[in-house]
Structures are given as C-alpha cells and as structure tokens.
Amino acid sequence: MKAWNTLVTALAYREKGTSLALFRIFISLTICGELLTTWWSGAASFLWHLQADGGFKEVISSSHWLFSMLGGATTSTVDGVFSVALVASMMVLVGLGTQGFAFISLVTLQALFSLQLGSGGGHARVMTLALFGLVLAASDATLSLTCRLRTGQWTSDRHVPAWPRYVGIWQLTVIYVFSGSAKTSPHWLPFGEMDAVYNVLLTPVWSRGSWELYIEPFYRLTQLSSVVTMVWELTWFVVPLMLLWRASGRRWAFDPRPLYLGLGLVMHLVLWVATNLGPFSPITLSFYVLLYGPEEMREVVGRFAPAGCLGGRET
C-alpha cells in the first residue's frame, strides 16, 4: 500500500510546464514539416488522390471512421482532411486550444495514414502517440499563444500535471528497449559480424547517397556503432529507472542522461543525414526534452541562452 501511495503521489505531482511546452513545439513542428514536405514533393497527391486527379491508384480506400463519415475517401475529402490536419497541427504549435486541436490533428493524421498502408513508417505511429499525449497534457501553460493571451507574457511559471511527461519518457523507453530487443541478428552482436549499420547505410532504399564510395575507412566505426546501438537501446531502461529511484528520495551514483542522450543525439543525427527515413529522427528526438524537468531544463538552457528565456512570472 505504501508503494502504491508513493506512486499515486508521484503521478499527482505538478510542475512548471516548460518541458511539456517544448515537447509540444518540437512535435508539432515535425508534424507540420512532414505534412508540408509531403505536399510539396507531390507525394500527397500521388498517394492520396484518385488517378483522375493526379494520384497513382484508381481507387483509394480507407477503413477509418472519419472517411466513412465523410462519404468515402475522394480527392476532395482527402484534401479537406489534409488541410484540417495542417491547420490543427499549426494551432498545436502556437499553443491555442491545444488539447482540442491535438485531438483533431491525431484523428486526421490517423485517417490520412490509413489511406495508403505502408507509405510511412514507425515515425507515423510516433507522431500519433505523441499527439495522444498532447491531448491529455496541459502543454500550453507556457511558451504559447494561450499563455500570452492569459498573462500578457509568452512564458509563465504556472504549474501543470507532470504525469504526461512521465508517460512520454516511458513511451520513449518502450520504443528503444523493444527496438534493441529485436536486434537479435548476429549482424548486431559482438560475437557476430557487427555489419548491421554497414548494411543499413548501403541499402539503396534507405540510403541518402552512394556511401559505398566512402565507407571503407569507416568500417570499424560502423561495427562499433552496431554494437553500441544495440546495447544503448537495450539498456535505455536505466534512464527511467534512475528517475524513479531519485524521485523516491534515494541516491543514484551518476546521472546517465547526458551519456544516453548524447549517444542518441549522435545516432539520430547520423541517421538523419545518411539515410532517408522521413521524420523518424526529429520526432523521436522531440521526446528527449521530457527527460529533464522544468527546473533542470532552465539550468541547462540558462548556460547557453539569455536568463529567463524559458521562465516567466508566477501566475
């Protein structure tokens, strides 16, 4: 019972909204960027329009309830849903009516992603689950238009429930640890060939360039990266474990976050530059801001940015 009460107390904790606000901003920026590049490249029209309107398929179908309600997936209903998704995501970005618009963005994106199964990837799911978190979180208490209208300031120290941040941290942990646990092939393992990263970088469907021309001197590094990636993912649970341990008032020898975040940052940036995986890296990196509470974040940001840029007056 004591453990349960400790957990309930932790989940009832309130904190300043800086971390959740930054999460909201990074997530919605990534979603807006993805929607705009999908439109700009012609992929939206190619994938989601009828053949008569420039699409590649004679019939587009979706089992999503939104399209059923709209009378089916046609070019005009798809364009309508796309526009609503973009506007809703922009509203989440500026932080006005955030929870409602996050819900609209969630539903419309799910409807769009249901049109052409397989046109996307894991990042589409990361987007929708992040939006689900934003539906539940009070992420516009600061760094938002809502805050500006309410207080006359862009920032505020208003306290909000912290549990959506904890759920986000757990979600990131699930993504990493389970991805690591799926890397059972000997191509990832120290006693195997350790050539998984080498293979990924040279696979044309993923690769951004002809890296086969340049990769030879870096082969050992790719082998090291294979093992480090697998170990780093598998052991990511250390981060929430440390946070839980410290939250219960106990001491933890060292803070693993700089190490895990640093490795993650390098891994995602290399993936972003070297491979064409869509917005997988930015959407996943958006979760990193949740790992630091608002006070810790202000301390970190304060080292590089003008004092008070993340903090406003008490409200």
Partner: protein, 212 residues
Amino acid sequence: MLNPWDHFRAALIVLHIVVLSVACLPPYAPNTKLGVLAPEQAWGLLMADAGLVQSGVEGADQLLAVWKGFATFRDTVVQPFRPYLRVAGIGQGWKMFGNSKNTSARLEIHGLDAGGAWQPLYVEQTTHQWHGRLLNHSRIRSQRSLFANKKFRRRYTDMVHWLAKDGLQDDRWSAIRIRYQGVRIPKIDRLEGALIATKIYWERVIAREDLP
C-alpha cells in the same frame, strides 16, 4: 493529501503503461530470403555449439516455438484493449532494423528514344532524377519497398502506369521502361566502392500505343 481521483487517475495511467508495454513488444517475422542468417538460425547454431540441442535446426525450432507461445500470450492479453490502442495511436511493435539484410534493389526508369536506345530518366542514387523530388520522398520510398511483396504488386502496376503516362507526354520517348535493379551489398573486403548488381525485377515496358 491524496483524494479518490488521484488514485483513480494513477490506476488509469498504470493500466495505460502496462497495455502499452505489452502491446509494443516487437512482432517476430521470420524471413529466410534476406541473404543473411535469420536470428533464430544463428542462435540455434550457438545453442548447438554449446551442446544444448542436437542441431542448429532443432535449436531454431525450439526458439521459434517459445516466441510463438509468447506472441499468442501477448495477443490474448492485448485483445480487449485493441480499440483503445487504435484510438490512441499506440501499440506498434518496434523493431527498427531488427533484420539486417544485404540485398536490396534500385528503381530505374528509362525512355526509349528515336534511335532505339534506352535513356536513363530516373536511376536511384544517380544524377538522373526525373520526378526525383517525388520518388525520393520517404513516403514514396517506403511505398516502393513494399512492391517486393506480391500482395502489393497491383500498386506497382498502378505506379508503373502513372509514371509511363507522364513520361510519354514527352515526345522524345516512344516507350517507358520501369524496373528494379537488384543489388547485393558485398562484405567489406569485396566492396571496391560499388554494390554488386544482381538480377532485374518486375521490368515493365509501356509503349505509347499501350496507353488507353
């Protein structure tokens, strides 16, 4: 001071986390056509080397049986929560690059000129980038990678017709050829700056007269 709402909310959050964690366990899809050892084969060989089983095949079979049992348990537990997982947009199994493979294919599109020669229009990862902005977009790339699966071959045909129709609007071409050039990633000691071309897949030639 904790109130009943605090307890109720905590219970919901814990339930969410448990369902999320179980549902997201990565699915295992055995793939024996990757050109590399499937994980269960590799682990089966290790088990055989360690004397735990008679052969690598027996080890692989045992591992697969355990995993299938586990997957059945997971599906049973998660089943009542499927509608919630769908609405929340969570529940995907994560297995980023779990299966390392050393085979792939490059999309190639050529136009047949008046002299009867095929001219490159789009060749993946080269300077021939007709419709490159579209074809290189991650959503189209992921779509294209599905065509290896027979289930999606109809979509490939649709894409071929879309590209051919567009390409044949240019009078220089009397036909458009679309195909995949299979490639194999060699081991590092045999790389020599190039992937190894293997066979051609799903070649389609659409002439002007083939268009409706």
